[in-house]
Symmetry: C2
Subunit: 243 residues, 2 copies
């Protein structure tokens, strides 16, 4: 069995060359293999998170540290995100846009418009409890990179005459995103759930005569709660949960 395992690594290296996308890139195994290790089945756990079966989780299961790291840094995360964005663009292209400036698309920021992966890669890929101090230090750097797929959607919407709107609960910076209709930021000290805040913000948009033709976020709390967007898109996020 040891010999067989050795061959696996060799073969994996031949068949699946991984692009060097991050200095913290790990070098062993693949997400698929690690997903079948003992303990929590990490691939099934991730699917349960994405399909909103798993809720109110505090941290990534300890044995899924490597799995989530590989998922985020290998091609899988970007490929999964690309398929979501492609679907969103196909939907947007099929809309009959009135072009009256009242048609908006709501964007979440963290892990949707911008990536905080540089932070989470240094802090256990979600396996450690949220640390406001260190996360805020990171935010003040203003270094979060853009998620290219979302920027592609953003630009496509503008070209179609649909206005991007951002509703966010945490940090925000601009990296190539220009043309936001307006930014709604959660007031410091806001009490209540993320679903309550975000659906309330959408209600205000609707009351102001806007039509929410689409909504994209990495959390189900970005999406759920009346009024919902005419169509919603859930980007992958196996690192943290906001309820």
């Amino acid at each position: 069995m040891a010999a067989a395992a050795k061959v696996v690594l060799l073969v994996a290296a031949v068949r699946r060359p991984r692009p060097l996308i991050h200095v913290l890139h790990r070098v062993l195994g693949s997400a698929g293999d690690l997903g079948q290790r003992a303990g929590v089945p990490c691939d099934s756990w991730r699917l349960a998170v994405e399909a909103y079966n798993k809720r109110d989780w505090k941290t990534v299961p300890a044995n899924c540290d490597d799995y989530v790291g590989h998922y985020m840094l290998d091609r899988q995360y970007r490929r999964d995100s690309r398929v979501v964005v492609d679907e969103a663009i196909a939907y947007a292209e099929g809309l009959k846009v009135a072009g009256n400036g009242k048609e908006v698309w709501v964007f979440d920021i963290d892990e949707t418009s911008l990536s905080n992966l540089p932070y989470y890669a240094k802090h256990g890929f979600g396996t450690k409890p949220y640390n406001a101090t260190s996360f805020n230090e990171y935010v003040l750097e203003g270094s979060a990179p853009v998620l290219m797929g979302t920027l592609r959607l953003f630009k496509k919407l503008i070209s179609l005459g649909i206005k991007p709107r951002a509703i966010t609960v945490t940090n925000l910076r601009r990296q190539g995103y220009s043309g936001w209709e307006k930014l709604l930021l959660k007031p410091i000290g806001f009490k209540g759930t993320a679903i309550g805040y975000k659906s309330g913000a959408r209600q205000k948009l609707q009351n102001a005569g806007y039509v929410i033709v689409g909504n994209i976020g990495d959390q189900w709390s970005d999406i759920l709660g009346a009024p919902e967007g005419a169509r919603n898109f859930k980007l992958p996020d196996p690192i943290y949960y906001i309820g």
Copy 2:
């Protein structure tokens, strides 16, 4: 590369002995590998289906025939389903049940309580358009096997004093499921969407004084639409879409 591919097969056989769960079981490759072939990225497509990003699709992408077949017949489908059921049971066990007989849990039938995999395995794993004639012939056999995970949930709920309720749109047979509160079957010739029918059926339950503490299905149309269950569970189904 040919040599490498050959080694992969050998290693796969050593590392992942597959239980003989189906006479049509395929013998080549693994779902994870096939998910990275050219064409539609099948693993990302499946995730997009499960997270409700992909909607109104008619058939599985042609290049994902093998991928979906392996997913369903290998361990992955059962493992993904098990994690969902485990979560549902944990939720149910945490409920404070009044035990007045009014607390119900709604079950879908096809691909939730019973599996039609023997049919789909012979008909391209969802890559071919739905064929009512051949599917109905299969249904008349009454041979669909039980999905053991769902049966485990079913029995647990009964032991907790929660009544299982079935709302179904297609075939139904009993395979170890005894103790249904009542079966609501979609009338032949019903016009309208699955979401409309199923949410209407839940509304009737609620009007009759029932509290829907949970709902489990393999389609988002089993789950969405007011009134929703207090909590919902989406089982995997990459084979077909009902809107």
